[in-house]
Symmetry: D3
Subunit: 69 residues, 6 copies
């Protein structure tokens, strides 16, 4: 029955439906494996965030990406 | 003063502004009725999530919908 | 299948298990009534927050309570 | 290392990337100044919410805006 | 750099620090495996919720547990 | 009217009510300064998380703290 919320940036190469399905399956399985919480009502919500709206270390990901290049 | 966050899937037939207003009014009233928390600063945020991004029981809602048909 | 998170302050007179159950039932019913989202996998999580940790209008609820008296 | 989530309405005049960067920098600095939590892994996520989806006092921001005019 | 929030119920047999570490490691690895998002600033927060405060299908987990026995 | 959620670890030297009030005041003021969002219904919620329950880079803060010493 756990609830999981994943926030990730929306990048130029978008996350595919297959990747999203793999994240949802993977987290649900992990919770069964590690703490044996039944998967039937496990809810996983993925939220994609613009790189302007996500900050790490006081900078937006947009700025961090531009410095990496 | 409570804060309420509602996450629901974005379906083909979208939730109307009237339905959203009814959810916000309904939750705010419920909190007054059940625990008598003054409604003036109650905040309700509705977030609509793509069916590819919402998983229950290890599967995305997209996949669950396709199996129901 | 919606997910609802309610954050409310933990007051001197605590919210009873009966009140929590009424909130969970009430929100779940509201989502069925307004947008007809099946209740079986609706998840509601109530989080109780110390009044020192909850702020409205730039002040903690602790301070607001003390001014009301 | 703190995590901060800011939910604000998406208005007709959108929040600029510069304003978002200023919010992220400002919150990160505030956490260093007030509680001395190292900024390197501080994460700030800004989510913009439609005014139909954000309610205060039992009304959507859309309705509150229309009454103010 | 993703952010993950896991909400699970606090049961009589508590989740151990080792299990929490395994959940944090497992989710972080999963995000690298599936979408190749660098793990250094991935943040995972586990929140334990009383069974009176967690509802599924309109009932608290406390009530659901009592019916299962 | 923004909503802000701050998650920080609960350390041996706890965050004082004065520090919490300063965080709430500081974030509320920042939102006025940067995006001119009226402070009266701004809500700030601070959640303190055990170091076993907060992970960065695949490790709990408890483990990271022990390595720093």
């Amino acid at each position: 029955m756990p609830y999981v919320n994943i926030k990730i940036t929306r990048e130029q190469e978008p996350i595919t439906p297959q990747q999203k399905a793999a994240l949802i399956k993977g987290v649900t399985d992990l919770l069964v494996d590690v703490i044996d919480r039944g998967p039937k009502t496990t809810v996983v919500v993925i939220e994609e965030i613009d790189t302007d709206n996500y900050g790490v270390g006081g900078e937006t990901i947009t700025v961090r990406r531009s410095k990496e290049q």
